[in-house]
Subunit: 441 residues, 2 copies
């Protein structure tokens, strides 16, 4: 089963709105073992929409059209689908391909559905607003199409069979039209479109993905480490996803009759990959570096404090993004001005971009905030060098019970923002590595 | 001039990454008067990428391909473009359409560019990392293509003429390949692709945009304020851009023979709009709320300190994102744990989610860090209520010389992240309004 996605709206092409719908739909399709190989954005132009629909239908079993169901004149999705239905009615060859030679040029007639009129009228009444005549267009349904009810919006969806009426239901292609409003779309896809697609599938395969998030190796370096597995991949498949400052992900995707069987395929692959890349893996799926660090501290009953200069609060804000961080996280000091490092954190180091300064910040912030573990960042985010240190020079301090006070330096690429972001995840990863090195508590 | 966008990456179809690149590129193209009528997402599949490229090229003058330039085996953009170049070399008819009957099937040979090898080696060296053999692929350039240098990443871009070598430069179609990493892509498009596209355009009109960033009014509220101007718009045009937690933007776009003339068209419109919306405008174009706040403090020779609970370092990190912040910004205290509010900031308030706590945090952080101005945030980001206060309850404190100590409460919608983000920009905007109210220093 293959299903493509067509997002409609000139505002999407002009970048006034980012199309997040097709990504969301693509994820749902993949989860359900439905292939999707092309997503397209088209403006509010009838000819182009019809052409895109017919092209996508030629290669797929189904197309989900997002948007263009509104009441204004530039909403033409209904009319476009009616045209495609009409042309396909007697224009599908035995392979289900559109054959323009024999296709008719009469669109399927649009028939007003009084139940939809009532529904829309009810929604306007509920908001105490008049029912604009424009909205009647939303009650027009191409002959032969079924209505996908929209309990939370005025625009109903459509399920439109494409091809001769006598085609077997299972062989017939289909176009689903859903609203562009995300929360209306997601509900309609989940409750009505996906179940219908699964009914049409012969096979009921389940797709399960698991993502190993890594930090510390380049994409190509990682690729070399697990090259043998990548070469040998079949089910699960193995893919790389570069996530910029969030590191590089290795994604395993398995296809099986059930989620349990898919998991059973992933488990041994994950074990093998972890054996190859070791501690580079800092989190799985939706977990983040800060989740992992907080968990490692929590396991030891340790609290955490941060002293930040170059990162200016980014490390603290990442940690606070985790619900329940307060169990472990005491707080932080953003000692941006040099004399604040001295007055608040009692830093003695003559130079602020130095190992000694990083060590003192990490060590003393523990005392100031009453924490077991302290980490720190100090360095040069640019745009200009500082005290003769080039932009990108960063020192990270670590104060951990039972471990010698430590400072690690790194040299980061990129602009001011990248350097601050990289420094933040780097110091968190450094703490993660040190806590792992302590072994199990 | 018509330019389409092709985003490459299976992860985009599977929804693991949302394609924001094509929307950004579409916005730039529109600003420069370049038409764009179709954006496509395709997975890492050579045949499909080649087919999509040739189809889009048939209807357009240029195609921008995003992504697939990485070092791993699934990055095949280079190879695909080489195939299209080869097929088109002797396969373009007089209209510049691909004519498969006469197109050759030999791809343009990929030639390794030693300057790129040096560049990549340099980047790995700067990070003290080994240069993996895989990355050499990134130095391969299709014969006849020009390199778009990437000063901030390993993947260079490509400018690939499509068609017979003797075609007039202006008539020849072109494929631009740019990295999928947003910050590398945006810089390459701005500095190298857009100027080249403008060179190719017959008309050399200049498009100048100016964006007024507002905070504090809804899009519809703003639309009502400036409705008369929107109705009367011609050149410059006026558009609204909702930027979520960064507020709502009003963008003026003028077209003229020169930048000076375009500016001359924008100046009076900006003056009229500012008169209508007043202090809602907090910044222009790339300026941010934190730029504005730092400038207002600098003008008075005041330094700034922040005390954060609910925002957990976000306010400080926003302020530190501004180059030169150190002139004004002293630093901050992230007093996440209640007893840190008391021990470090000397908070007496019995309740931490209260006006008194917000006032004491703002007032005392000035003393602790030796600053003139202090601001603070305390509240409930969720997921659970705190001390009987519902999620979204936030108090903001303001301590400004010559102004009574103040606390303002707000009730914010959304999840944990949105509440923290909204709180951060809200307290900065509150400080901006108070400093403006003091009049000119």
């Amino acid at each position: 089963m293959r299903c493509e996605v067509l997002a409609i709206g000139t505002e999407l092409l002009l970048g006034q709105i980012v199309d997040t719908n097709s990504a969301w739909i693509g994820e749902r399709l993949a989860e359900h073992g439905i292939d999707t190989v092309e997503h397209v954005k088209i403006g509010d132009n009838e000819d182009r929409i019809v052409a895109a629909l017919e092209r996508l239908l030629a290669g797929a079993d189904a197309v989900i059209v997002c948007g263009g169901l509104g009441p204004t004149p530039d909403d033409v999705t209904r009319e476009c689908i009616a045209t495609v239905m009409g042309r396909a009615r007697d224009g599908l060859d035995h392979l289900g391909r559109l054959d323009h030679a024999v296709s008719s040029s009469t669109p399927a007639p649009l028939v007003r559905d009084e139940r939809i009129v009532e529904h829309i009228a009810g929604m306007f009444a509920a908001r105490g607003r008049d029912f604009p005549a424009n909205n009647l267009r939303q009650a027009d349904v191409p002959e032969g199409a079924a209505v996908l009810w929209n309990p939370i919006g005025t625009a109903p969806g459509l399920k439109c069979p494409i091809g001769p009426p006598d085609t077997f239901e299972q062989r017939q292609k289909v176009v689903y039209a859903v609203p562009g409003v995300p929360y209306e779309m997601t509900r309609m896809i989940t409750e009505q479109v996906l179940p219908d697609l699964l009914d049409r599938m012969g096979e009921r395969a389940v797709i399960v993905s698991r993502t190993l998030k890594t930090w510390g190796a380049s994409e190509s370096g990682l690729a070399e480490m697990i090259d043998a597995r990548v070469q040998a991949q079949s089910n699960p498949t193995i893919a790389f996803l570069a996530r910029g400052i969030e590191g590089i992900c290795i994604r395993m995707t398995a296809k099986a009759p059930s989620a349990e069987e898919a998991d059973a395929l992933i488990e041994p692959e994950e074990a093998t990959l972890r054996a190859l890349v070791g501690d580079l893996v800092f989190a799985v799926d939706d977990e983040t570096m800060e989740h992992t660090v907080l968990d490692l501290c929590r396991k030891r009953g340790w609290t955490l404090a941060v002293a930040e200069s170059v990162t200016g609060g980014l490390v603290a804000s990442r940690i606070c993004s985790v619900p329940g961080a307060s169990e472990v996280f005491r707080g932080g000091v953003v000692s941006y001005a040099t004399d604040v490092k001295r007055s608040v954190l009692g830093v003695q180091a003559p130079e602020v971009v130095s190992a000694q300064c990083a060590r003192e910040m990490a060590d003393n912030v523990r005392r100031v905030l009453g924490a077991d573990v302290g980490i720190s960042t100090t360095g040069v985010a640019g745009p200009d060098p500082l005290d003769g240190h080039p932009v990108g020079t960063v020192w990270m301090g670590l104060a951990i019970p039972g471990v010698p006070l430590e400072a690690v330096s790194t040299r980061l690429p990129g602009d001011r923002d990248r350097i601050r972001q990289f420094s933040s995840i780097s110091v968190l990863n450094l703490l993660r590595m040190r806590l792992l090195a302590l072994g199990h508590s």
